[in-house]
Amino acid sequence: MFAFIIRRLLQIIPVIIGVTIATFFLTWLIPGDPTNVLLGPGASEESRERLRDSLGLDQSLVTQYLIYMGNLLTGDLGQSISFSSPVSEVLFRRMGNTALLAGAAIFVASVAGIAAGTWAALRPGSFRDRGLTIVVLFLNSMPSFWLGLVLILIFGLHLRVLPVSGMPDPQSGLLTLLAHMALPTITLAAWSLAAIARMTRSAVLEVINNDYVRTARSRGVSEARIVLFHALPNAIPAVLTVIGIQMGFLFSGAVLTETVFSWPGVGLAMFQAISSRDIPLIQGGILMLALIFVLINLIVDVLYVYFNPKIRLN
């Protein structure tokens, strides 16, 4: 088990390096003079020179990359133009808010998705099963920001039951926080819910008519026990993988959702960065979110092996 973890860690090192190379390349993609974009068009020639020096913009790509990596390792992600503060500061300050939303969303998506998928798998081909297929189809065909706007329209503006933007002060209490989180969480969770439900249905269907389930049935074990203790545990590993992948998508989906709901997280910061062409912030944000994604996938891989005795004991 331990050896497996070490091996996986070693495997992702080249990927991490590759990710840094990819984000580094974003600066290279900027047409024209990068200092225009990095400092804004009104910057003085002095500051441009200084920037060129510190980033090595006159030197070879490799040197530039090494400078970039060097900065990364010391936690320097550059200076954000729109926020006028270091990128790392902007990101870290907001990371918690995004994590809160993402955590709530994955929770909702997992619980609802697994429940719905299992429910449908127990009666394949029936109304409820086909209903689920249609719901999944629509959730997969919906832009999340549109869903968010529709939810705002219905629940916020017409029914007036839930707040539609922003994140409340910690002083306002848990209930207010949850109220503010409700709509953005649902919006963010929608796509993942569809993916998780679909995978759960598929995995449970594969397992529910297995021979060993039949053995349990033949001994008089109830359907409920069979689903809970025989079917689901064997279906979970596959579902877990999907959940892991979805977690990554949640962090990227947060850009859209936070924009729609004005939720002060990394996503909203990215949107503001895009509007003002704040490349360092965009770069830093992408790098951070990608690294988090890689880490999450690693954890999911480890959990998958842990829950699978056959693989583990081999």
Partner: protein, 356 residues
């Protein structure tokens, strides 16, 4: 006509513990049904051993799965009755059926590797219904499971409770399945091809184990196999199935010495015998088994039968009783002497030809 009308014969006064009457099983839509079991009837007396013999695809597994209402998705009982201890089973709700399964009738499945939950320890799988439904405490269940594993001949039983299925050999897994089946003291034990996936050397052990347990616990046994040799030693009565129907039912002696259906005879003569002269070729049954999707008019064995009469293609032969024993039932109009003649002198000298 089924064998039901014969049941009032004084030779069998005991009420059967399991009684199947005209059972039919179908898959697929009502418009285009796939009939895998057609009008099957048999009885099992308490403590008796019934062997059901047939090729793969003959419907024998489907029959017993239907008895326990364990048919796969899309399958249903399309006709007939199943009676256990007098009560009808085929129309019971799943909830009521659960009371019968395991406690009244138990099933030993065919492939022990796929019949055990790969991610659950043996002990936990075995103990599950004992704890959940029979009211045993965890430690009492543990003790019972250890006893059961010991009973089926597994060494170091207490240790084995902590193993996963893939850590055991094929023979041991089958023993575990047997232990699980008898764990709730059923009155009827159904063993579906319990030795097919095992080495020949272990097959006899397993069959004997099942028979010993049956005698010790006073259970009736339904043993399903494609191998006549397997049932020869322990069955009281044998039913032979072909293409979803029972073609012959009789006592073991009658089957081996005086069977009345060409298919049974062909099965018997295809068994390699140790005293066979060298150079004499084996006698397989010509042709291929019937495709269950085809609904044939007349006798399904007809294309492969060497004695076929014209009437055999026209209509399905009715189930009739032998002249000398009302309990010997078969679906064939062919004269018994013609059957024996065709096989030559060896057939007429046939005694207990089966292997044990």
């Amino acid at each position: 006509m089924t064998g039901k009308t014969q049941m009032t014969h004084p030779a069998q006064p005991v009420e059967p513990i399991l009684s199947v009457d005209g059972l039919s099983v179908s898959y697929g839509s009502a418009r285009q049904p796939l009939n895998v079991v057609k009008d099957v009837s048999f009885d099992v007396a308490p403590g008796q051993v019934l062997g059901i013999v047939g090729e793969s695809g003959s419907g024998k597994s489907q029959t017993v799965l239907a008895v326990l209402q364990l048919l796969a998705e899309g399958g249903r009982i399309s006709g007939g009755q199943v009676r256990f201890e007098g009560a009808e089973l085929q129309s019971l709700s799943q909830r009521r059926m659960r009371k019968v399964r395991g406690q009244g009738i138990a099933l030993i499945s065919q492939d022990a590797l796929s019949s055990l939950n790969p991610s659950m320890k043996i002990g936990r799988q075995m103990a599950e219904p004992l704890i959940a439904y029979d009211g045993l405490s965890a430690s009492a269940a543990r003790k019972r499971c250890t006893e059961l594993l010991d009973l089926v001949g597994i060494p170091a039983p207490a240790h084995r409770l902590e193993s996963y299925p893939h850590e055991l050999s094929g023979g041991m897994r089958q023993r575990v399945l047997i232990a699980m089946a008898i764990s709730r003291n059923p009155r009827v034990l159904i063993a579906d091809e319990p030795t097919t996936a095992l080495d020949v050397t272990i097959q006899a052990q397993i069959i004997n184990l099942i028979d010993d347990l049956r005698k010790e616990l006073g259970m009736a046994l339904v043993l399903i196999t494609h191998d006549l040799g397997v049932v020869a030693g322990i069955a009281d009565r044998i039913s032979v199935m072909y293409a979803g129907r029972i073609v012959e039912t009789a006592t073991t002696d009658q089957i081996f010495a005086a069977s009345r259906h060409p298919y049974t005879r062909a099965l018997l003569s295809s068994i390699p015998k140790p005293d066979q002269p060298r150079g004499e070729r084996l006698k397989p049954i010509p042709g291929l088994p019937v495709d269950p999707r085809e609904d044939v008019r007349g006798c399904a064995f007809n294309p492969r039968c060497t004695h076929a009469l014209a009437s055999c293609t026209e209509s399905l032969p009715a189930m009739i009783a032998a002249e000398d024993d009302g309990q010997h039932l078969f679906r064939c109009p062919v004269d018994p002497f013609r059957l024996a003649e065709a096989e030559g002198p060896r057939a007429r000298l046939q005694g207990n030809g089966g292997m044990s």
